[in-house]
Amino acid sequence: MSDSSSLNASVLPDDAAVLARHKPKGIWRQGCERFLHSRTGMLGLVLVALVVAVAVFGPFLAPFDPHDQSAMLDPGAKAPPSWVHPLGTDRMAYDVASRVIYGAPTALIVGLGAMSIAAFVGVVVGGIAGYRGGLTDEIIMRATDFFLVIPVFVVILAVVRLLSSMVVNTPLESIPYLNLGTIIVLIGIFGWAPIARMTRAEFLRLKNQEFIEAARCIGATTGDILFRHILPNALPSLIVMVALGIGGAILSEAMIGFLGFGDPKAVSWGQLLFFNYESLKVAPWASLAPGAAIFVTVLGFNLLADGLSDAFNPRSGR
């Protein structure tokens, strides 16, 4: 019961249609309302908000400085959780709770930084491919395919390691957080392909729609059409991709850190795992805490993305 039914359909058994016909609202209003009703989405939002709060208020929350090793004397290294050290101390006698708290801003900077780069490159590349079409599209999409199949993580590992050994004994060595910056940039420039693909698909879909034609008819410039008509309509799908990507980037950085290729000067969850994994048997808290932090953060962003995609594409099958 589809085709000609939409005009005079009176009893269509479809709750989405009921909502839609009740009172016309903008796509954003509707999406937000649906989002507020989605259990997964709200849980994701809460988790992400929690991580952001910890990152912002970390210095006030953390009982110790992240570089404070004074516990070496009193409870000693690998001390189990206590009132003074709620999550225990680790192999180097750092307070685990404080280190996990100070890891939050690092994680968020990695996630946001890498995804800003990826989103920018992806939208520009995908937008050009989708809007121009033809040969440009063909060439760009082949390149995108290429980036989709290369083993990104493997390449990033090699580059990070080689770069860190290259800067030894050069002036570059003095740049603060050079290693972390490299990791962010690499995750970003190897992560744009899915976004480009999605942007291209959205631009292709939108550019032939009637409202774009109408805009063109009233003399809108190309820039106007791109930035005021097409982009805002492609935005919901992009936001979902970016939310997913932030979680992915944080996870990538954690894995790089876990393997020992992270920035030795930065406090990051992956790094914590790397330092403490060897003593997993004696001091499991020192590995569990950063692991759980990574899990909660990634889960938060994944649920957020899930809720958003439900809210903005209600017919996507969920």
């Binding site: 080689l162 050994s165 393997l259 020992g260 997993l280 569990l288 692991g291 990634v298």
Partner: protein, 322 residues
């Protein structure tokens, strides 16, 4: 005929990808600097003469482009050079360590596929029910649980707390379980396979469920029911045949993801696989292994995506090839 052309084109594209990957890998490794000098910069006390001799030995005294072609030519005859730290041919290293990776990845994917098909279908048949909600929540959680964190949890529970399963390696170092190499090997595989399977299951189940939900709403399913075909047959013969296609296509990507993160998952269990070999090689800057292993990982990844693309066309007669 069109099918043959498509397959040939797809293989050609895969070949081009491999060439591209080889360029990236070779020049990334070399652009950073002379591998020998980098290595030696971290190991003080090596005379300039030794360095010079090593360069000649590893053929590093020629210009990069010539070296690239020499390297590529050797690759084609499966000669990956000699490892600096192991002092063995990289080809045989990759073969032995790669087999260990294969040994845990393939069972993990097969187990995950079987579970995902059954659980995803069951959830889809009871969409919005409590079962469905439980499956969805579990899968969403599982998807966000980083594989290596899950591995850590498994080790803590099964190796350290209950002491029933080994936490590292592919074989016992002293005495095999029940004196049998096979039993010992399988015993060591349990945790790594469980970790990988869990991660794959979560993703595949979500995909399977959402496809199945869509397919069960289609007219030909209603028509099959209206023809009196038993429900089990409608679901597992008619609907599954269509719903499983995107899942199979996704397998290609999943293989890529699993191989790409093998360095991490294998490090968790100190599993002597390709990923672990790669991590050690990077730490030690053993560049023949770095280049060889990343080429092999890339090749497997490209093969996986190419094969799924071709399989997709073979399974689905609707796809019209231009």
């Amino acid at each position: 005929m069109r099918l043959t052309i498509y397959i040939v084109r797809r293989l050609l594209f895969a070949f081009l990808l491999m060439v591209g990957v080889s360029l990236i890998i070779f020049f990334l490794v070399n652009a950073v600097g002379d591998p020998i000098e980098l290595m030696m910069a971290e190991t003080p006390g090596v005379s300039a003469e030794t360095i010079e001799r090593m360069k000649v030995h590893y053929g590093l005294d020629q210009d990069p482009l010539t070296r690239y072609f020499i390297w590529l030519g050797k690759l084609l005859s499966l000669d990956f050079g000699t490892s600096i730290i192991y002092n063995q041919p990289v080809g045989s290293l990759i073969a032995t360590w790669g087999w260990q990776t294969f040994k845990i990845q393939v069972p993990a994917i097969l187990i995950a596929l079987a579970i995902a098909i059954f659980v995803g279908t069951t959830a889809a048949r009871r969409q919005h029910s409590r079962t469905d909600f439980a499956v969805m929540s579990g899968a969403l959680l599982g998807q966000s649980l980083p594989a290596f964190f899950l591995g850590i949890l498994l080790i803590l529970i099964f190796s350290y707390t209950f002491d029933v399963l080994p936490s590292y390696g592919a074989y016992s170092t002293r005495g095999y379980l029940w004196g049998s190499v096979v039993a010992d090997g399988l015993w060591h595989m349990v945790l790594p396979v469980a970790m990988l399977a869990f991660f794959n299951t979560a993703t595949l189940t979500l995909l399977m469920r959402s496809n199945m939900v869509d397919v069960l709403k289609l007219d030909f399913i209603a028509a099959a029911r209206a023809s009196g075909i038993p429900e089990r047959r409608v679901v597992y013969r008619h609907a599954l045949r269509v719903a499983v296609i995107p899942v199979l296509t996704y397998l290609g990507l999943l293989v890529g993801l699993m191989l790409g993160t093998a360095p991490v998952t294998e490090t968790v269990f100190t599993w002597p696989g390709l990923g672990y070999l790669y991590v050690t090689a990077i730490h030690q800057l053993d560049y023949p292994i770095i280049m060889g292993a990343s080429m092999v990982i890339a090749a497997m990844l490209i093969a996986a995506t190419t094969l799924t693309d071709i399989a997709y066309v073979l399974i689905d007669p609707r796809i019209r090839l231009e």
